[in-house]
Amino acid sequence: MSPPHGGDDDTRKRAAQPIRAYGDRMGDGAVQLSFTLPVAASARAKEAARRYAEGLGLKHVLVTAMEAAGREFSFFVVYGKSDIVIDYGVIEVPEVKSAERTPKEINDVIKKQLGRRVVVVGACTGSDAHTVGIDAILNMKGFAGDYGLERYPWFEAYNLGSQVPNDVLLQKAIDQRDDAILVSQVVTQRDVHRENSRHFIDEAKRRGVHGKQLLLLGGPRVDHKLALELGFDAGFGPGTKPSDVANFIVHRLLQRRGAPP
């Protein structure tokens, strides 16, 4: 899945680079679709599926499967060709930026340049009980062989666990004068993660934390772009390692002190 940062982060203006989807022959625009329509399987239903795909702009539409997913529902697999061309050259994506230090280097730099332990608190907020993600970042054990922040001598990490109301988390962060607050949101049905996160930011603003402590958002449907839009300082998606997070926090703290990041 997408590397949370690093990789292709060359944001200088690029030359136009039109790209199309590719299946059989370069640029053929081949796309696979599947969906369900609320009608019984029949020749008419298949035709409806074909038109549906055409409605999406596909040509040479092939309804390759029509399955009776229920008495009144048909599931379709469809292939077609799309004319869409994307100019890859103009695509820019905000990416989390920081030096790529090893955990040891991170500890060293905190010790030398900040001279105090970095305090962070994290939780899975709202009614969300999925702690595996935030645990992966904070707990000793870490994630994919990368140790969690609890294990960094120069980090002081608090993990409040799951189902933590936004104001409880913020209060704790204020009490401890944290450097960073880590919010995890995993349940996303009907955008409840956005709603919760917006509410968190409103609360953070109300309490004057916003812009002072670093606010990090993470979860399987989170990316840096979304997090920025919602008012966080950074967003972290699937595959994030604890050291990615540590790097970002230290980078920003050093930046604030005007130190070379």
Partner: protein
């Protein structure tokens, strides 16, 4: 499948150790009750309805009794006294307790026997309602029959009960045997059962009596068309575990997620609360003839499935012991386990077979429930569907009773209508293609599968031994299960646990405990 050569003496010892573990907290359970147990007693007697704010009558009743320091006697005690004092109906009595003058302490004439006698017809009726529901279900099931095992179990979870009902029907039409309506994210932490039909939930739909009815009605209708009995599942779990057990019993649900440990570990519900609640709810469940689904599969979402496999087995023995203590026969114990080993590991398939077969052998009469890969799934639906294919293969080869079908969109969203369809079609293919694979297989006696099964059992045995020594409270507090630590007095809902007074009265429980 050929039995794996494991030592029956070790198995017997595990069972004995687990009984001792359960016993160790059994004394506590017998000496205590909880607000939700008491609310369930009131419901069983027929108290119903809510105030204009939606607070259920039974909650107000119990809260008031607790505030007045009278809950130690049991809600039935107060209710009976109201009857003795002239309330014409249970509802009138409950309303008096809830909204009338502050509850009075028992007077001189209020001896236990008098109260019990006043309640007697209602107690009988409370049990009769459950029994009639059970008979209704059993008659339907007898008449229509069920599909071959593994039974195909799917989840609906739109948040809107009407969509759920539509999707439940479609799933049944596609071949599902069992439909579980998943609950909204927050429900297990809420200390009351909402009322009425609901259309807004996140990650699931609220469990309410009316919602149970809506789905059951849809399945009742659908099963006649399909000529195959359809089973409904919900969650007797969280702070309202006993109440939901009761509502499910009345509404003819077939299965309930119900676990002695899940709420503690995964919802941070207070251990004392959950252990008391599970006892009472299982008494109801046993009477109602409902199959429980335990939640050991969940352990492997927070702990590693290779390292923590034995904790699943140990916990299953403990869950079994608790269930036995609550009168539940083996035939109603759908112990949970899962296909959760990291898909990237070499020979993960062999380890999964070992675990699935081990559990099958350890719990031979139990309708064990086999859960799909979840944690290691990603948004690559094609790979996910293939992983679920191997899962289905293990399921049919090892003779699992109930299979929750894996969804190719596990890492993405609550299942869509066609995700379920694709899963059912895929499972039907695998089950048919490998129908008698289990009869064919023999295992290399010196191989990895046999070794692994033995190791897991040995570790479970060791863990049970330790748990007996330190006691369950301490084991849970140390994070033995699911890598989650829960202190005995932490978590939610402890304030709802209270010591039974010497004159504590609960004729419903007494009757349930007399169930043969």
């Amino acid at each position: 499948m050929e039995a794996l050569p494991i030592d029956p003496a070790v198995v017997a010892e595990c069972r004995a150790l687990a009984a001792r573990v359960a016993d160790g907290v059994g004394r506590f359970i017998q000496a205590h009750s909880t607000v939700s147990i008491e609310r369930t007693v009131l419901r069983a007697y027929g108290a119903h309805g809510a105030d204009p704010d939606g607070v259920p009558l039974v909650n107000t009743c119990v809260a008031r009794l607790q505030a007045a320091g009278q809950l130690g006697l049991g809600a039935a005690h107060a209710l009976g006294r109201e009857l003795l004092r002239g309330a014409a109906t249970i509802q009138e009595a409950a309303e008096a307790l809830a909204y009338g003058a502050p509850p009075e302490p028992p007077g001189p004439g209020d001896n236990l026997e008098t109260i019990r006698r006043a309640l007697a017809p209602y107690t009988a009726e409370a049990l009769a309602v459950i029994d009639r529901s059970r008979e209704h279900r059993e008659a339907d099931r007898e008449r229509l029959g069920t599909g071959p095992t593994p039974l195909k179990y799917v989840i609906v979870a739109t948040g809107n009960i009407y969509d759920d009902a539509d999707q439940a029907r479609a799933a049944a039409q596609a071949g599902a045997d069992i439909i579980a309506v998943i609950r909204s994210t927050a429900q297990s932490l809420i200390d009351y059962v909402p009322i009425g039909a609901t259309t807004e939930g996140y990650g699931g739909t609220w469990a309410t009596q009316e919602n149970f009815r809506i789905v059951r009605a849809a399945l009742d209708d659908e099963q006649e068309r399909l000529g195959r009995y359809l089973q409904q599942v919900n969650y007797s779990s969280g702070l309202c575990m006993p109440e939901i057990a009761y509502l499910a019993a009345v509404e003819r649900l077939d299965m309930l997620l119900n676990d002695a440990m899940y709420g503690i570990l995964f919802r941070d519900i207070n251990p004392r609360r959950t252990l008391c609640d599970q006892y009472f709810s299982r008494r109801v469940i046993a009477r109602a003839g409902i199959v429980i689904n335990t939640g050991e599969d969940n352990y492997l979402t927070t702990a590693d499935a290779v390292e923590a496999a034995h904790t699943v087995v140990a916990s299953q023995f403990i869950n079994e012991a608790f269930a036995h203590a609550a009168g539940l026969p083996d035939e109603l114990m759908g112990l949970g386990h899962a296909f959760e080993i990291d898909k990237g590991l070499e020979d993960s398939f062999l380890l999964e077979i070992a675990q699935a077969q081990l559990v099958r052998q350890l719990f031979p009469k139990h309708p064990i429930k086999w859960m799909p890969a979840t944690k290691h799934k990603t948004g690559d639906i094609f790979l996910a569907h293939r992983v679920d294919g191997l899962y289905d293969l293990v399921g049919v080869a090892t003779g699992q009773s109930i299979e929750l079908l894996g969804m190719m969109t596990e890492a993405i969203h609550n299942p869509y209508l066609h995700d379920r369809f694709v899963a059912i079609k895929g499972a039907d293919y695998v089950f048919r293609a490998a129908r008698h694979l289990g009869d064919e297989l023999r295992w290399n006696p010196d191989g990895l599968v046999v070794r692994r099964a033995r190791e897991v059992l040995a570790s479970a045995h060791a863990l049970l031994r330790e748990t007996v020594e330190e006691g369950l409270w301490s084991a849970i507090a140390r994070g033995v299960f699911a890598d989650v630590k829960r202190p005995e007095t932490g978590g939610r809902g402890l304030e709802g646990v209270f010591a039974r007074a010497p004159e504590y009265l609960n004729p419903v429980l007494e009757a349930l405990e007399e169930t043969p």
